[in-house]
């Protein structure tokens, strides 16, 4: 985490004084972006850097769905299965992905390329069915679009 400290210092300067605790979420996000997940010694380092109780960081990591403490595949496919997406065929798309990749939600392909998850509403109901691949939304999914998408993900 040490190499990220100059960035964290810049971020800290944008907040009012006394807002160190607020830096927990953005710093964890950056650490995870950098390493792919948040490691135990990241927690230790961040606790020391921010001066917040360590338990606060542990709670945050387990409370929010976007944080992870273990590495996952290179491409994280998160399929929305909430109301509008279910009504526009997310189950069929999910079944298709499962068949093509040979994994169920919660699993990673053996070559480490893809991790599959389901997600709750991602705020894209008008372009359902959709999924998030890493940071990008892929909307109005069809089998064809999915094939093209998976081809493109090396």
């Amino acid at each position: 985490m040490k190499h990220l400290i100059p960035e964290f210092e810049k971020l800290r300067a944008r907040f009012p004084a006394g807002f160190e605790s607020s830096l927990v979420l953005p710093c964890l996000r950056r650490i995870q972006e950098d390493r792919g997940y948040v490691a135990d010694d990241d927690i230790e380092a961040l606790t020391a850097y921010l001066g917040v109780p360590r338990i606060q960081i542990e709670e945050v990591l387990s409370f929010y769905t976007q944080f992870r403490r273990k590495p996952i595949g290179r491409w994280h496919l998160q399929m929305c299965r909430n109301m509008s997406c279910s009504m526009r065929g997310s189950q069929t798309i999910l079944a298709y992905v499962e068949k093509r990749l040979g994994i169920r939600p919660g699993q990673t392909t053996s070559d480490g390329r893809y991790t599959l998850s389901t997600a709750e509403c991602l705020g894209s109901c008008g372009t359902a069915p959709m999924m998030m691949v890493n940071d990008t939304y892929h909307e109005n999914l069809t089998h064809e679009k999915l094939d093209a998408l998976l081809e493109g993900l090396k």
Partner: protein, 432 residues
């Protein structure tokens, strides 16, 4: 066009969200007027006079919320735009963040000036990546143009903004849960009193407003409250952005002048139903609002009062249209799974109730339901109504009882026959 357009009043292009084009449309003129010609008290009065209601879900009068802030109480004040947009069916704040970020920023500057706010924040859900990047870029542009920072437009008004990303929790859309998250903690909502406008972010007076609510401020100040009130109806002034999804031909974000007839909106603007199917029901304002049947909405206008009278609410403006042939039991399973997943777990009725409801509906869908299950769902909903720390418990109950009230027979059929009357179907793939 479903009535006059105030926010979506320009064609969206690859560059229409930029500062330059926003300025071409008259952007930041309202800020100039506010800083040079109005006092903070004037602005609060104008916003109150406009009758603007919150567009996040609760429809609380924005001016009334602002009035609690004492301008010179010696405390730092904070303004936070709620861009967490997690209510299923809702994606209209996203439109503003991606296409009109400067409208939000200008509005936040005017609001900060009115409420003596030196530091404001936008709390944006972690999954919104493109909206975040558009907003962050707009913030950069604004700083570079001297619209944020010290001595804005040459006045002694200074203001800084931080865009804060969430990390995946629907409950962070609840105002006090949002502030807990902004303080770097798990998103546990808080009991009131004290109100957030008395003790909010780091125990200081804080106003949390929805993105769309705030985005109306620049329009109201720019054109005046009187002009604003000419749009919409007396009890529902202005326009609302509706995110329309489900079994319609043209889902998307639409700006509707309040008072516009509902069926006209669905038939004409939203392209009518997929495959010409009849409407079974509509979730008007996000999954936490009570469902209304096609018959219920036939003669309604899109106003707060029409929906309150019909026993529902415009809520978050997340309108999900459901065609005949959709199994409401299977749909309820999707909905109750959502609340169970998102309950923060802090208070007794919601923590246990959302899990209990989910397990019951799973059992019904698996063909193992019993008649008492329906009463049990009502029981759990009743004792989550008004008993919890935040509205998530109540919302789960409304979603559940709303569907049970209108479609009880489908549940009784499923329980008796151990299968769906409609084959568990959620899609609308054919005309019948």
């Amino acid at each position: 066009m479903p009535g006059r357009q105030l926010l979506m009043s320009f064609p969206v292009t690859e560059t229409s969200h930029t500062l330059a084009e926003y300025r071409e449309r008259g952007g930041y003129g309202a800020l100039d007027k506010a800083l040079r010609q109005m006092s903070p008290a004037d602005i609060v009065k104008e916003v109150t006079a406009s009758g603007l209601q919150g567009r996040g879900g609760a429809a609380f009068a924005v001016g009334r919320k602002w009035q609690v802030i004492q301008h010179d109480d010696g405390h730092p004040h904070y303004l936070v735009a709620n861009a967490d947009e997690g209510e299923p069916g809702t994606f209209k704040d996203r439109w503003i963040l991606e296409n009109a970020p400067h409208l939000l920023l200008e509005s936040m500057l005017i609001t900060s000036f009115a409420l003596n706010v030196r530091n404001c924040f936008v709390y944006i859900r972690g999954e919104f990546d493109l909206p975040y990047r558009r907003l962050a870029a707009a913030v950069e542009e604004a700083y570079a143009a001297g619209l944020f920072g010290k001595n804005i437009l040459g006045t002694d008004f200074s203001c800084d903004i931080v865009v804060y990303r969430g990390a995946g929790a629907y409950v962070a859309g609840e105002a006090s849960g949002l502030l807990a998250s902004l303080e770097g903690k798990k998103s546990y909502p808080r009991n009131r009193p004290p109100r957030l406008t008395v003790r909010g972010l780091y125990q200081q007076p804080t106003v949390v407003n929805n993105v769309e609510s705030l985005s109306n401020i620049a329009i109201i100040i720019g054109n005046g409250a009187e002009a604003y009130r000419k749009v919409g109806t007396p009890k529902s002034p202005g326009t609302r952005l509706f995110s329309v999804s489900g079994h319609v031909n043209k889902p998307g974000v639409y700006e509707v002048e309040l008072g516009y007839p509902w069926m006209k909106f669905l038939d004409e603007d939203c392209g009518g139903m997929l495959h010409g199917r009849a409407i079974k029901c509509v979730v008007p304002g996000g999954v936490s609002s009570k469902v209304l049947t096609g018959a219920d909405i036939a003669n309604l206008k899109l106003t707060h009062e029409d929906l309150w009278d019909a026993g529902s609410t415009l809520g978050s403006g997340g309108m999900v249209v459901i065609a005949e042939g959709t199994c409401m039991v299977t749909l309820m399973q999707v909905i109750l799974r959502f609340y169970h997943h998102e309950s923060c777990g802090q208070c007794t009725p919601c923590r246990h109730g959302t899990g209990w409801m989910h397990r019951i509906i799973d059992r019904i869908v698996a063909g193992k339901g019993v008649p008492e299950d329906i009463e049990r769902l009502y029981y759990i909903s009743k004792f989550n109504d008004g008993t919890t720390i935040c509205g998530l418990g109540d919302a789960a109950g409304y979603a559940c009882t709303g569907i049970l009230d209108k479609f009880r027979d489908e549940f009784e059929y499923y329980i008796e026959h151990k299968r769906s009357r409609l084959d568990g179907n959620l899609e609308c793939l054919r005309s019948s």
